[in-house]
């Protein structure tokens, strides 16, 4: 009953409707781009990029003196992309593996951002520096204009995905074939990664750095269980992302101390668990019903008993 009341409240309350709409927009955009990240085994790149955005946010503020979201978002995007380029450079030119490079980019960029932020404020105490907003986001502060900005940038990113559909499909599944067709795979990779940066940057204000990576990974990982087709997976990921966004916003209104970001992540996590269990054909509860791999006959063919051969 309480849940029903809250939903009605949301639909009638302008502020809450705005927040839910923002969370849904974010869920759709990060779901779609997350699908490619998960397929290309780059789930943790999102985590690294969201942390790498911090120095860009601080520098953008230092250079312009403006605190408006588009300015800070531009700064976040620039340093997020710088982080990715460094990632590619180090992984390609040295023997350091991708996991280490991700850890380095994530933590060092974040450290530099923290140092800049505290230097800017002339206060060594990071807690006073307003960093909490960046770390955990403040969905509650979303206003209609913010949602508009999110929708415009997110919509533009989705439009690019639609236009380069075939190219991104090739990039995800058969890069070499794409290259043999003469497609600029390297450039496409940079474009796709830049789009992921856009998705992350528009999510920072709502859910913050720490939890943004879950919104990239979870809807896509859930969607992957239900289908083997890219188109269906992308649509499902968008749907799951939006569900997590709206569901999380509604649930967080139910009780004290339920911050929106963490609740959205928990809803997304629940969708993953359900998908892992229930998805037809792949899901864990279907495993018992599937006939066992015919191990015994195979063995007897490969290693025939004495006298049979």
């Amino acid at each position: 009953m309480q849940l029903f009341t809250v939903i009605v409240e949301y639909l009638s309350d302008y502020t809450l409707r705005t927040i839910a709409l923002g969370a849904a927009t974010l869920g759709v955009v990060s779901g779609v781009l997350g699908a490619y990240a998960v397929l290309r085994r780059q789930s943790l790149v999102g985590d690294a990029m969201s942390h790498a955005a911090l120095p860009g946010v601080v520098l953008a503020f230092m250079l312009t003196g403006l605190k408006s979201p588009p300015v800070l978002m531009a700064g976040a995007a620039v340093s997020g992309i710088a982080g990715v380029l460094l990632l590619i450079l180090v992984t390609r030119t040295t023997r350091i593996k991708e996991d280490s490079t991700l850890g380095i980019v994530l933590s060092v960029f974040f450290g530099v951002g923290l140092l800049l932020l505290t230097w800017l404020q002339h206060s060594p105490d990071a807690r006073q520096a307003g960093l909490t907003t960046f770390l955990f986001g403040q969905a509650a502060t979303l206003v209609a204009r913010d949602v508009m900005v999110m929708a415009i940038f997110g919509g533009a990113a989705l439009l690019v995905v639609a236009l380069l559909w075939k190219e991104f499909k090739l990039l995800s599944f058969d890069r070499d074939f794409g290259a043999s067709l003469g497609l600029p795979m390297q450039a496409l990779e940079v474009v796709l990664t830049a789009l992921l940066v856009v998705a992350i940057v528009i999510g920072l204000q709502a859910v913050g750095v720490v939890l943004m990576s879950a919104l990239v990974v979870a809807p896509a990982a859930a969607a992957r269980q239900w289908t083997d087709r890219l188109g269906v997976m992308v649509l499902l990921a968008a749907l799951f992302g939006a569900t997590a966004g709206v569901g999380g916003t509604i649930l967080s209104g139910l009780g004290r101390g339920l911050a929106t970001g963490p609740v959205i992540v928990l809803v997304a996590g629940a969708l993953v668990v359900l998908s892992l269990l229930l998805a037809p054909g792949r899901g864990l509860i279907w495993r018992g019903r599937r006939p066992r791999l015919l191990a015994a006959p195979t063995m007897s063919v490969t290693y025939p008993a004495e006298g049979q051969s």
Partner: protein
């Protein structure tokens, strides 16, 4: 330098050294991002253990945190084991969920307690000397005792199981065949990472623990091929980052942990560029040298082929190279100068002659072909 400044630097150095040791194995075993996951999820262990004992100073918090660190690793492996998600996605799923649970538990049930989330994420080294503990007649900051103990633990474990860790890291198959149980080594190492991450929390926060674990170790990986040397370099770079980070933070009046992480980054970039063999500069130089040496060998072989034959008069002319090997005149001149400097050819009246060294080089090359 005041005692307090000295103590902060001592804590920073000990934290950095304690982190740098297990970091080496994380980098070598390609599990660096597990440290990121663990350093976030130990928050859940701290919260749950706190609900249990109701005391923030209790050692049970470290145990609880270490247990959630292992739980994280186990959950990731469980997810990967279903073969429904890949490892990177599994890590990206498990840690935000456990972390979210911790954040919600804190904000619902632990308000007002000194357990705020951003303190865990960011740490505050500057206040560490205020909490003190007297042991063995020594009055030192609590953080120094705790991290000193963890550093000692890391040293002892890595020292005792050095052979096992080495084998399981470089040849897991052989380790398994010899009965060393790679899974046990893996979980043992992850337990060390978890304990270290919890201890380092207070000082530098969970995000920058990753900087202290991974960055010095990765820099050391660029400098050496020897595991012992790599451990040494990693600790050295970690400690140097800690001390220089402290002074950088003082100069800028900024956050110490952030400055320490920034310094690990600077050491990494220096290593990336100037490492003796694997640095980008050394690699570029080697490529350049190889290019010149290839051209010089080509020139020597060309001269050898025609040596003592009638056409030699034409073939050994400097300007003939331009047509014959199709080198640009400027480039041909550069190659000849390089070869002259190396004592491979001599130039006399516009003709080139092989020196004895040059003839040997060309003959070796022809023999190999």
């Amino acid at each position: 330098m005041t005692t307090m400044q000295l103590e902060i630097q001592a804590i920073a150095a000990v934290v950095a050294a304690a982190c740098a040791l297990p970091g080496v194995f994380l980098v070598l075993r390609r599990t660096a991002m597990l440290s990121d996951a663990i350093s976030h999820t130990v928050l859940l262990g701290i919260v749950l253990a706190y609900f249990w004992v109701q005391d923030l100073a209790s050692p049970a918090l470290i145990l609880g945190a270490a247990a959630t660190g292992l739980l994280t690793v186990w959950l990731v492996e469980l997810l990967v084991g279903t073969r429904l998600v890949k490892e990177d996605a599994a890590i990206g799923l498990v840690f935000p969920v456990l972390f979210s649970v911790a954040v919600i538990l804190i904000s619902r049930y632990a308000r007002g307690v000194h357990l705020d989330v951003d303190a865990v994420l960011l740490g505050e080294l500057a206040f560490a000397p205020f909490e003190r503990l007297t042991l063995l007649g020594l009055d030192l900051p609590t953080a120094l005792w705790v991290m000193g103990g963890i550093l000692l633990l890391n040293l002892v474990v890595i020292g005792l199981f050095f052979k096992e860790l080495k084998l399981a890291t470089f040849d897991a198959g052989l380790a398994a065949a010899l009965g060393f149980a790679p899974a046990l080594v893996h979980y043992g190492l992850m337990a060390l990472v978890s304990v270290t991450a919890v201890g380092a929390f207070d000082a530098v926060g969970s995000i920058l623990v990753v900087a202290l674990m991974i960055t010095p170790a990765a820099t050391a990986y660029l400098l050496t091929d020897d595991l012992r040397a790599m451990l040494g370099w990693s600790v050295g770079i970690g400690v140097a980052s800690a001390i220089s980070g402290y002074w950088l933070a003082r100069a800028l009046d900024g956050n110490i942990a952030g400055a320490m992480a920034s310094m690990t980054g600077i050491f990494f970039v220096v290593g990336l560029l100037f490492a003796p063999e694997r640095g980008l500069v050394a690699v570029a130089q080697r490529r350049m040298r190889q290019r010149w040496e290839f051209a010089q060998t080509l020139l020597a072989v060309h001269l050898l082929q025609h040596e003592g034959l009638p056409e030699n008069r034409v073939e050994s002319r400097v300007d003939h190279l331009v047509e014959h090997i199709r080198w640009q005149p400027v480039y041909a001149e550069q190659v000849i100068r390089y070869a002259e400097r190396k004592g491979v050819v001599r130039r006399r009246e516009g003709r080139l002659y092989l020196t004895d060294d040059g003839r040997r080089l060309a003959e070796q090359m022809v023999a190999r072909a």
